[in-house]
Symmetry: C2
Subunit: 394 residues, 2 copies
């Protein structure tokens, strides 16, 4: 059989981890805490069905014709206003609509990375961001992290290379650890970027999913030196299937993101952009978000409570104030991979933490999603997982 010679950056990637997870989660009798999906019954189906008709009526054939790579103008205008409420002053020219915030990461990689350039990240960090940067030939350096997110002084310790390009952070309810960057550090980090010759990529898909107390605004709000690119998403708060996100960036960077976007997919689906706009501008976002937050808060509380009841004492975890995930630590010497093998026999699935570590590490960690499963599934699945843990850790 013909084996084509692939690019060096993709040749050894199999995509197997994600495929295996999907396979597990698609078995109907498996209770999966693996993904990061909204529960299907929380998607605003009726509202968006109506809005799809409305978008056709209001925007006529425009939704079916080619659009600009920058995005649907009313949506970009809404994003400017929405970001202003979050404390980020952005001009229209600083906003581009992307096909999910994930495309924002891809376009930033395309704009900045030469082969062997370096991206500075937290360890662990978002699995697919690692893959995206690897596809552009990046290597990685790591800052230290604690319970307040990345430690700014640790960035000063990183050896200076002219090939250090991007600092990638998920500042709110980080995937996978659930950690949130403190307010002090949000103020401190942007001012460090010029000296470090870095651009900070602030990936914020979970920032609106806050369940406890007040919330820190975006790092981008403190971006005096125009060194921060904010990536936002409507996937976790409206619908992932429509694939609409956005980037807010200095104009010099937007210009390159637009070139990348022209080349990647020309523009994001116009109908999807118009629908997201109408949902937001029609005043549906805020009540929907409140309802989502109430559901997810209850599920988080339930999962934490059931974990308390069923997990062995030797297992520890965080209590995230938002987002979608709980991060679990097994006792040293025990692997989440080993646990998963046993768990799957009992029809429960999760993601092993080592997927989020570049070059190994975290073998005793795992990530549990609490948004997708029903309350009954959380009770049953976590109880099963607790039983498996008791045996596996014995």
């Amino acid at each position: 059989l013909f084996q084509p010679e692939m690019s060096q950056n993709i040749a050894n990637m199999s995509g197997q981890v994600i495929r295996d997870i999907l396979k597990l989660t698609q078995q109907p009798d498996v209770i999966s805490f693996a993904g990061g999906m909204p529960p299907t019954d929380a998607l605003p189906h009726e509202a968006l069905r109506e809005i799809s008709g409305l978008a056709f009526e209001k925007y006529g054939r425009e939704v079916l014709q080619y659009g600009t790579s920058e995005g649907f103008l009313p949506l970009r205008e809404f994003i400017v206003k929405w970001m202003a409420k979050k404390g980020v002053k952005a001009e229209l020219e600083e906003v581009i609509v992307t096909s999910g915030s994930q495309q924002g990461i891809d376009l930033m990689a395309k704009a900045f990375l030469n082969q062997d350039d370096r991206v500075i990240m937290e360890k662990p960090t978002y699995l697919t961001a690692i893959q995206i940067f690897q596809l552009y030939g990046a290597s990685f350096l790591f800052g230290d992290s604690d319970e307040n997110g990345i430690v700014p002084s640790s960035l000063q310790q990183i050896s200076k290379h002219s090939t250090n390009k991007l600092l990638y952070l998920v500042p709110n309810f980080q995937n996978p650890t659930g950690v949130t960057l403190s307010q002090d550090r949000r103020k401190e980090l942007p001012g460090m970027m010029a000296e470090l010759k870095l651009v900070l990529v602030e990936d914020d898909p979970y920032g609106d999913l806050v369940y406890d107390g007040n919330h820190n605004g975006p790092i981008k709000a403190h971006d005096q030196d125009q060194r921060v690119v904010y990536l936002g998403s409507f996937s976790k708060i409206i619908s992932p299937g429509l694939r609409v996100g956005f980037a807010v960036a200095p104009e010099a960077i937007i210009e390159k993101l637009v070139i990348g976007k022209q080349s990647s997919d020309v523009h994001t689906c116009n109908l999807a952009q118009a629908m997201i706009y109408e949902f937001c501008a029609g005043g549906l976002l805020e009540p929907h978000l409140e309802s989502l937050k109430n559901q997810y808060r209850k599920k988080r509380d339930l999962m934490l409570e059931v974990m308390d009841r069923h997990f062995p004492r030797s297992v520890s975890w965080n209590k995230p104030g938002g987002g979608l995930f709980i991060w679990v630590q097994l006792p040293a010497g025990k692997t989440a991979q080993g646990l998963l093998k046993e768990a799957v026999k009992e029809k429960v699935a999760f993601i092993t933490g080592e997927c989020f570590y570049v070059g190994g590490g975290g073998s005793n960690t795992l990530r549990l999603n609490f948004s997708n499963a029903s309350s009954a599934q959380i009770e049953e699945g976590i109880s099963r997982l607790g039983k498996v843990m008791h045996t596996y850790l014995a």
Copy 2:
């Protein structure tokens, strides 16, 4: 002002050509033959508006939830059947849905190209394909072309490098020249790829827009050695704004396209995929295509007739059997750039041919689109352009 250090492949790209064209075409009083858009009133607005509601009813919340990177299953199954009618036998596992066929080019570049790898193309060729490959650091080699498309024996003359990776062709009504690859060459080319260590990228957005006589089937129909990747699009035959296309490729290549797709935008908008599927499976594609072809044939005939009447004898052009473009040659020594400056004063626009040449060439050529303008605009615009030509070429 902060000037970030961009990747070497994007640093010198300004996207200015495409922006300038857009600016021209967005002036309401300019008659533009520059783009490649369907006329807005030919978009199947009513049908797709109804189908958007139907898609919500039939596929429930599925359209709003995450989908697989491979694409919406019913649409992939339709593509398998549709390709079979075109003479291409593909398994379901050989089909991936893309966000427009342009994303197919991008994903092929991502899967195959290391910095400085070579792509073999025709000269001239599709403007944005050049930009996509350049963003992945490609350099270019060129086969010879004649009125039957690329000359297979000329590929044998190209110096052999292990870094020669892809042969990129638009075999039907090539953009910009309108040339169609002959049947003999379609049979010959796939068998040459193994020896040349190339994968052939068959980019076919215009293959269904045939106005005269019978049509040659895809090159992919003769792909005994599994060396051809077919890129198809629904942009030119249903709606560009929905951004749905597809690739048909050997499984070993699909695996890498899926990894690239996971990283680029996770998957194509599910609602758009479901709508394209319902449009096609509901039997609307064939009558719509017939109607489009009748409109475009008339416009092509009209434009050719008006050109005959108004253009100077020293100007020559082709008579394309399909597609969207007429390719025009000014006498040697006269530039299309100079002509455009004068034409814009008379509120007529087109694309200069040199945009389609890597590293210069074609300065006396230009491309005229006949699909977008109305018949009245074609009469008026071409007559104006003829007048400008008479003065400019005098």
